[in-house]
């Protein structure tokens, strides 16, 4: 890990993200060249303007917010549990968010107001965070953490399936529930952007925590002895990670493995220091989800959650092998 690599990581990630943004604007059922994109953004080309402002821009904004939030929660959870393999998906926090969202749809709450969905997702995610805390204490072994995650994912999956099977008659609700279970960014609107926008605030709140998180990630008592208010820091970290995951789940459904893959790869690139890792992970997460969504858009039948899992599953297996 050379200092040069560390310095270049942020500009490179930023440049990559800009490239992906341009690509996301251009690619679709109707391909838009640079000229039409500019004309569409300015509103002089009406068709391009509709495609960009009503479809592609909200979708890419949601994709970026979702990616940034999942990667950031991964970073926070790994520091909290002092374990490389902790992530919102594996620990069942994402599944909690999904279960919350699905229950909200099943009981028709989502029809009352679109914004009840994120509230329900946050409640579900908080509940599973609480359960993880009880099942696996801090500094718990990898096995314990993962087993707790397995149990929670199974339990919450059952809740989701139950809601699904008990509403077989209402086709529309079932389709909505399936959407959340598979995770995707189809038909995202500006309302979804608004729903996900607190993620940006969460990212800003994360910034000053970088340094104390460094100390915490090497041992809670040691950190406390060096002057970190560990109890307070942990509360803020867990609250932020949970809310970030829940908001991402509320707008995009279950998008797995982002919180595991992105922080891990970037830590290999820029090192474990959080002041450097957090901004790179926010940008890297946004770029990763945007890239996966581009793939999902270009290949028929694929959805975002499927793409991230297709990449993340093998990566996770590789990680487990490497850990031995």
């Amino acid at each position: 890990m050379t200092p040069r690599r560390q310095r270049l990581a942020l500009p490179l990630a930023g440049a990559g993200l800009v490239g992906l943004v341009i690509l996301s604007l251009a690619v679709g059922d109707l391909h838009l060249g640079p000229g039409r994109i500019l004309a569409g953004l300015r509103g002089t080309d009406e068709l391009a303007a509709t495609i960009l402002w009503q479809i592609r821009i909200p979708r890419l904004l949601v994709a970026m917010l979702v990616g940034a939030s999942l990667a950031a929660s991964g970073v926070v959870m790994q520091a909290y549990f002092r374990n490389h393999l902790a992530s919102p998906g594996l620990l069942g926090v994402s599944a909690g968010g999904t279960a919350g969202a699905v229950v909200a749809i099943g009981f028709g709450l989502a029809g009352v107001s679109l914004f009840l969905m994120p509230v329900a997702a946050v409640c579900g995610a908080l509940a599973s965070t609480g359960a993880v805390l009880i099942l696996a204490r801090r500094g718990a072994s990898t096995e314990r953490l993962l087993l707790a995650g397995v149990a929670l994912n199974a339990l919450l999956g059952a809740v989701t399936s139950y809601v699904l099977s008990s509403f077989t008659l209402t086709y529309e609700r079932n389709a909505q529930i399936l959407f959340w279970m598979l995770g995707g960014l189809e038909d995202r609107t500006w309302e979804h952007v608004a729903m996900a926008s607190p993620i940006a605030l969460g990212a800003i709140a994360l910034w000053p925590l970088g340094r104390p998180m460094d100390l915490l990630s090497l041992g809670a008592k040691e950190a406390q002895s060096l002057g970190v208010d560990v109890r307070r820091l942990r509360r803020i970290m867990l609250g932020l990670a949970t809310v970030l995951t829940a908001l991402a789940t509320a707008v995009a459904g279950t998008v797995g493995f982002v919180g595991l893959v992105v922080p891990h790869l970037l830590r290999m690139l820029v090192g474990p220091e959080h002041k450097r890792l957090i901004p790179v992970a926010l940008i890297g997460g946004a770029a990763f989800v945007l890239a996966c969504d581009l793939v999902a858009r270009s290949v028929g039948g694929l959805r975002l959650g499927i793409v991230t899992s297709l990449i993340g599953g093998p990566f996770f297996l590789w990680l487990l092998r490497r850990q031995r």
């Binding site: 002092r82 490389h84 500094g139 460094d214 090497l218 008592k221 040691e222 406390q224 002057g227 474990p272």
Partner: protein, 245 residues
């Protein structure tokens, strides 16, 4: 003179019965006792890391009244074993000592030399051996410049030269007015200590000068061993001898 560390009736359920003690500044204090006798618990209580019923005071101030950040400048604690999950470079782990000083980075380079860590400065800390990790932890503790240093079995994983160097360093910090409390198993090191606290089954059994406290009777009673003086090999650093004042 106010005690550098004063503990009054501190107990931890199931691990330590009420303990009271006062340690003056400028001493190297050894904490001895069989496995599970409460040495680590007492050190963590002294460091303010475990909740207890009693009171703990540093330099005359009850620690409950000291803000956590300031505590990081007043006392520091070294765990028996480090669990480094992430590969922070050695230099940056040592620099964490200055968190409570606004991350000024003071003394980090000096620590690398003092603890023989210069060749490892850029190596990831999770790849080091047990003894090397302990030296990193001690280097970090030393770099805080905290006047109360609480070290949990610092010598156990170290090779003989590094162990002697750590004892010499403890003496050096004590000579400028700090207090070093360290738990240890090798009673033959006791002659390097100013004071010894003997823990037994969660109780403070005795405290005093090593020669007064570590009598054959006590050793037999607490540790179940017979102490006998016999000619043997003495190991010391080539340039110095270690003696208690």
């Amino acid at each position: 003179m106010t005690a550098a560390l004063a503990i009054h009736n501190a107990a931890v359920e199931g691990r330590m019965r009420p303990v009271s003690l006062e340690l003056p500044a400028g001493k190297v204090v050894g904490l001895v006792g069989p496995n599970g006798s409460g040495k680590s618990t007492l050190l963590q209580v002294a460091a303010g890391l475990l909740d207890t019923e009693g009171t703990v005071a540093w330099a005359g101030r009850p620690i409950d009244e000291i803000p956590i950040l300031e505590r990081g400048r007043m006392a520091t604690w070294v765990p028996q074993e480090a669990h480094f999950e992430f590969g922070f470079p050695v230099r940056s782990v040592i620099a964490q000592a200055r968190f409570a000083h606004g991350d000024d980075g003071d003394g980090v380079e000096e620590a690398l030399d003092r603890f023989d860590l210069r060749p490892l400065a850029d190596r990831p800390v999770n790849r080091l051996s047990g003894g090397e990790k302990m030296r990193v932890l001690l280097a970090r503790a030393w770099t805080t410049r905290a006047p109360l240093q609480l070290w949990d079995e610092p010598l156990a994983p170290l090779d003989v030269r590094h162990a002697l160097e750590i004892l010499m360093l403890a003496r050096e910090i004590a000579d400028v007015g700090s207090t070093v409390v360290l738990s240890l198993h090798d009673l033959r090191t006791a002659h390097c200590l100013d004071l010894v606290c003997v823990m037994d089954r969660g109780e403070l059994r005795a405290i005093g000068k090593p020669d007064d406290v570590l009598t054959p009777d006590l050793l037999l009673d607490v540790f179940g061993v017979r102490a006998r003086t016999a000619p043997g090999m003495i190991l010391e650093l080539p340039q110095t001898t270690l003696n208690s004042r």
